[in-house]
C-alpha cells in the first residue's frame, strides 16, 4: 500500500548518493505541521493523516532518521532507553538476551577454503586453528565451492548486496599473518542432554570419589562401575580415546524401545576432546612443549585415521547391500536392494507403511487424505 501522505512530507530520498544536490532538495523540504494546519483552516474534510501516522512520521523524521541509512562498519540497531554504549550489539531493545553475533568476513571464508581444499587440512584442525565450529567450516567450504562454480559459469552475483550486508553487521576479520586469529565462536559447546534434566538424589559414601563418569552413569540409570575397572581410568578424558577407537564400546542400558547408551562424561561429548588431553599434557609437562605438541599431533592423526576407517566401513556396507545392474546399451543404472522381510522392516502384519513394495488395496501415501505430502528431507 502506498503511503497516504502528502509528498511534501517525504524528504528527498531519490538517489541520495547520486544526487547530492542541495538545490533540488530545497523544493522537497518537509512542511512544518503548523503551516499544514493553517492551510486546512476552512476545510471541512478530515485530515488524511491520523494522529498515530503523524506521530510516526514525526519520529521517523527526528529520532528515526538515524536508522534510515547505515554507517559502514557500524551496527545501527534501535537504541533502548537504558542502553549504554559498548558491549555486544543487541538489535531488539526489549530483549537483552539476543545478541547480533558476528559473521565470517570474506577473507576468512577464503582462508578456510584454502586450508581445507588446497592445504588438505582436516576440518577438525582448521576448526581449532581459526576458532570456527566444525559444522560451519564444512558449510563454508561448500558455499565457497558453490560460489566459485557459479562464478565460472558466469551466473549473476549479488556483490553490492553482500558488501552492504557486511557493512551493517559485526564481522570477524581474518587476522594478519603474524597476529593471533580471534576466535569466531566457542568451539567446545556441550549440548545439554535431556537425561540430565532430572534432579536426582544419589547418596554416595564420602570415601568414594564420584567423578563425571559416575555422574553420567547415574543419570542414565546404569549400575556403578566396579572398583577394578575404575582404577584403569586416571581421568575421564581417557575414555575419549577408547570411544574413538571403538565406538561400539559404549555400554547400553534398558531393553527394547527404552534401550539407550550410557551418558558419557563431558570430556567425551564435546566436539574437540583432544584439547582436554592436550591441556592435561601441558599441565603435566610444562617444560616439554615440543614433546607435548608432537603427542597431540600423533593423537590427532590417529583420530583422523580412525574416523576415515569408520567412514570407509559404513560406505562399503552401504555399497554391499546395493546391487548395481547396468543393462547393455541402456542409459540407466539400476540399484537393487535386497528386501528383507522381518518384523523391523515390514511390521507385524507385513503391511507397515514403510515396508517395500505395493500392497493390494492400500493406497500409496501420496494419495492418502490427511497425510503430509511436504518432503521432510532433500538429498544433497
Amino acid at each position: 500500500m502506498a503511503p497516504r501522505i502528502q509528498t511534501g512530507r517525504v524528504s528527498n530520498t531519490i538517489l541520495p548518493y547520486l544526487s547530492s544536490s542541495s538545490s533540488s532538495s530545497s523544493s522537497f523540504s518537509p512542511l512544518c505541521p503548523s503551516s499544514q494546519s493553517l492551510s486546512r483552516q476552512f476545510s471541512a474534510t478530515a485530515a488524511s493523516q491520523t494522529k498515530l501516522r503523524r506521530q510516526m512520521f514525526e519520529w521517523l523524521n527526528t529520532e528515526g532518521a538515524a536508522y534510515k541509512h547505515h554507517i559502514p562498519n557500524e551496527t545501527n540497531y534501535l537504541k533502548g532507553p537504558r542502553d549504554f554504549e559498548g558491549g555486544p550489539a543487541k538489535p531488539f531493545p526489549n530483549n537483552k538476551n539476543f545478541i547480533s553475533e558476528s559473521v565470517l568476513s570474506e577473507d576468512l571464508r577464503n582462508k578456510v577454503y584454502e586450508l581445507v581444499v588446497h592445504q588438505k587440512k582436516s576440518i577438525r584442525a582448521v576448526s581449532v586453528q581459526l576458532g570456527i565450529d566444525m559444522r560451519r567450516v564444512g558449510a563454508v567450504v561448500r558455499l565457497v565451492e558453490l560460489e566459485r562454480r557459479q562464478q565460472a559459469q558466469g551466473k549473476p552475483m549479488a556483490k553490492p548486496y553482500a558488501r552492504a550486508v557486511h557493512e551493517m553487521i559485526p564481522v570477524t576479520q581474518l587476522a594478519d599473518p603474524n597476529e593471533r586469529q580471534t576466535y569466531h565462536e566457542p568451539i567446545n559447546d556441550l549440548p545439554a542432554h535431556p537425561t540430565t534434566g532430572a534432579q536426582i538424589f544419589y547418596p554416595v559414601p564420602e570415601s568414594r570419589s564420584f567423578t563425571r563418569v559416575d555422574a553420567g552413569r547415574v543419570f542414565s540409570a546404569a549400575p556403578a562401575v566396579e572398583h577394578s575397572r575404575k582404577d584403569e581410568l586416571a581421568h575421564p578424558s581417557d575414555l575419549a580415546d577408547i570411544v574413538f577407537e571403538k565406538p561400539g564400546s559404549i555400554e547400553w542400558v534398558g531393553k527394547g524401545d527404552n534401550a539407550r547408551q550410557v551418558l558419557q562424561p563431558a570430556d567425551v561429548r564435546i566436539p574437540h576432546p583432544q584439547l582436554v588431553q592436550l591441556d592435561r599434557d601441558r599441565a603435566a609437562f610444562p617444560t616439554e612443549r615440543r614433546a607435548v605438541g608432537e603427542r597431540h599431533a600423533q593423537r590427532l592423526e590417529r583420530q583422523e585415521k580412525n574416523e576415515e576407517k569408520l567412514r570407509e566401513k559404513a560406505r562399503s556396507l552401504r555399497e554391499d547391500s546395493i546391487k548395481h545392474v547396468e543393462p547393455e546399451g541402456g542409459r540407466f543404472d539400476f540399484r537393487i536392494k535386497e528386501a528383507v522381510f522381518s518384523e523391523q522392516t515390514v511390521g507385524q502384519d507385513g503391511r507397515a507403511p514403510w515396508a517395500p513394495g505395493r500392497r493390494y488395496g492400500v493406497p500409496t501415501n501420496d494419495r492418502k487424505r490427511g497425510t503430509v505430502k511436504i518432503p521432510t528431507r532433500v538429498e544433497a
Partner: protein
C-alpha cells in the same frame, strides 16, 4: 494465503518485516503490565503478541503441533577446567564441593530458556530465508518460495513450510534478493523504464525492416568508424560520471553512466581478442588503457599501485559515486584531458595518467560491472540497500550465509546458552515466559 498481517499503528504489533511501520512499532513497544490482570490474561496477551511476530503465517493449530517443550541448550566448556580435575572434588563433602568459595563463579549467567519457545518455527524455510537477510519480510520469503525462486540442496522447493534439516543448503535467486533488499524505484525511474522499453520495441521493429538492406553495409561501416569520435565521447562521459559537481542532476549523471558503459563496450569489442568483454576487470582495464594509448606515469613506485587498489575497493564498498571531493574533480578533469590528447595522437607525454586518474577510471569500470545501471531490473539501480534495513540486519549463528550467491546453510537447530538465546525475538523475558507457559498446557 491472504496477508492479514498488516503493520497497523493502532494495534502496534511487531512483525517479521523491515518496514518503517514495523520499526516504529518496535521502538514504541512496551511490555504490558501485570497489575490487576489474571495470570490467564497475562499469558493470553503474551501469546498473542509473540505469535504476531513468530510465524503469523502459520495457523495456530499447525504451530501447536510443532511446539516442543524441550528446549535445546549448550554449555561452552573450558578444556583447561576439564583437564584440571575429574569432577570428584565438586562432588566431595555433601555433594557440592568441600570449599565453596574457591570455585563458585561470581555471577552465574542464566540460560534464557523461554526465549527459545518459538525455536521450532526457525526451521521453516520461509523464516530461515528471512533470517538470512534474503527477504525483507517473512511473507516475502514465503512468496519467493511459492514462486519457485528457492532451491534446497539444488532442488527447487515450493513449500514454505519445509522444515530444514541441519546441513541443508538453500539458495534464493540473487535477482529476487536484490529486489527484496534494495531500494525501490521512484516513479521517475519507473517511467524511464517504460519509455526505454517502448523505445526498444520500436527500434526492434525498425531493425527488422532494415536488417536485410544493411546487413552487408554495417560491417564495413563499423570498421571505418572514427576511433576519435568514440574516444571523445568516452572522455566526456567519464568526466561527468566521476565529477562531484552539484549542478549535475541525477538523471543526467545516469544517462552519462549508461553512455560510458556503451562506449567502453564498443572500444573493447574492437580489440583483437573477443573474450575481453567477459574477462576479468583487470584484463578489461588494461585493454582499455592500451586501446586509448594511455600510459601510467612511470615515476610512481609499485607500492602506490597496491594502495590505489585498496582505495578502489574501499570506494566500491561504500558504493559512493557522490561524496564530493575536490581533488577527484581535478583527477577526472586530468583523465579526460589525457583521453583527449590520446585521441589526438599526442600519446607520448600528455597521456601519462596519475594514480588518481587511473583509480577514477577503474572505479567507473568497477561500478559499471558490479553495480550497473540497468533499467530492466525491478529495483533502483545502481543498487543500494533499502531504507531502515540496517536496524533489522543481523544473522543468527545457526545459519552460515554466503551473500554473494545468496545461499545459506542451516547448520544446526538454534540453541540457548548462558546469557543468550539464538532465536531472534523482540520480546523480553516478561513476554517470552508467559507465552511459553501458554503452550505448555494442552488446550485442544
Amino acid at each position: 494465503m491472504r496477508n492479514r498481517a498488516s503493520n497497523t499503528l493502532s494495534k502496534g504489533k511487531i512483525r517479521q518485516s523491515w518496514s518503517k511501520y514495523n520499526l516504529y512499532n518496535l521502538q514504541r513497544f512496551r511490555s504490558p503490565g501485570t497489575a490487576h490482570r489474571t495470570f490467564f490474561q497475562q499469558k493470553w496477551t503474551a501469546k498473542a503478541l509473540s505469535r504476531a511476530y513468530h510465524g503469523e503465517q502459520v495457523r495456530e493449530g499447525q504451530w501447536k503441533r510443532m511446539f516442543s517443550k524441550r528446549i535445546r541448550s549448550v554449555v561452552p566448556m573450558n578444556t583447561a577446567d576439564l583437564a584440571a580435575d575429574d569432577g570428584s572434588e565438586m562432588a566431595a563433602g555433601r555433594g557440592s564441593g568441600l570449599n565453596k568459595d574457591v570455585k563458585s563463579p561470581s555471577m552465574p549467567r542464566l540460560v534464557p530458556y523461554t526465549n527459545m519457545a518459538f525455536a521450532p518455527l526457525e526451521r521453516r524455510l520461509d523464516v530461515a530465508i528471512f533470517r538470512a537477510l534474503f527477504a525483507s519480510s517473512a511473507r516475502q520469503a514465503r512468496q519467493f518460495v511459492i514462486h519457485g525462486a528457492v532451491t534446497v540442496n539444488g532442488q527447487k522447493m515450493r513449500h514454505p513450510s519445509y522444515l530444514l534439516n541441519p546441513g541443508d543448503l538453500f539458495q534464493v535467486d540473487p535477482d529476487r534478493v536484490m529486489f527484496a533488499t534494495g531500494a525501490p524505484k521512484t516513479k521517475f525511474e519507473r517511467r524511464e523504464t517504460r519509455q526505454l522499453k517502448s523505445k526498444a520495441a520500436a527500434e526492434a521493429e525498425e531493425a527488422e525492416v532494415e536488417a536485410d538492406a544493411e546487413a552487408e553495409k554495417s560491417e564495413s561501416a563499423e570498421k571505418k568508424e572514427n576511433t576519435k569520435e568514440t574516444l571523445k565521447a568516452l572522455m566526456a562521459q567519464a568526466k561527468t560520471i566521476m565529477s562531484k559537481d552539484k549542478d549535475v542532476l541525477a538523471a543526467k549523471r545516469k544517462q552519462e553512466l549508461r553512455g560510458f558503459q556503451k562506449a567502453v563496450r564498443r572500444v573493447l569489442s574492437r580489440s583483437s581478442t573477443s573474450t575481453i568483454l567477459t574477462d576479468s576487470l583487470e584484463a578489461q582495464f588494461s585493454e582499455l588503457t592500451l586501446m586509448l594509448n594511455a600510459k601510467k606515469a612511470e615515476k610512481k613506485p609499485k607500492e602506490n599501485k597496491k594502495k590505489s587498489k585498496e582505495q578502489t575497493e574501499a570506494a566500491e564498498e561504500s558504493e559512493v559515486a557522490a561524496a564530493s571531493e575536490e581533488s577527484e574533480v581535478q583527477a577526472s578533469d586530468k583523465l579526460s584531458e589525457a583521453f583527449q590528447n590520446a585521441s589526438e595522437g599526442k600519446n607520448v607525454d600528455t597521456s601519462e595518467l596519475s594514480e588518481e586518474e587511473f583509480e577514477t577510471l577503474r572505479r567507473a569500470l568497477t561500478q559499471m560491472r558490479d553495480n550497473p545501471i540497468d533499467s530492466s531490473k525491478p529495483y533502483a539501480t545502481p543498487w543500494r540497500p533499502r531504507d531502515y534495513m540496517s536496524a533489522f540486519a543481523f544473522i543468527p549463528r545457526y545459519l552460515e550465509v554466503n551473500q554473494n550467491i545468496c545461499a545459506a546453510v542451516y547448520l544446526r537447530h538454534p540453541v540457548a546458552r548462558p546469557g543468550s538465546a539464538e532465536v531472534p525475538t523482540p520480546f523480553g523475558e516478561t513476554i517470552a515466559t508467559p507465552a511459553y507457559g501458554w503452550y505448555l498446557r494442552r488446550r485442544w
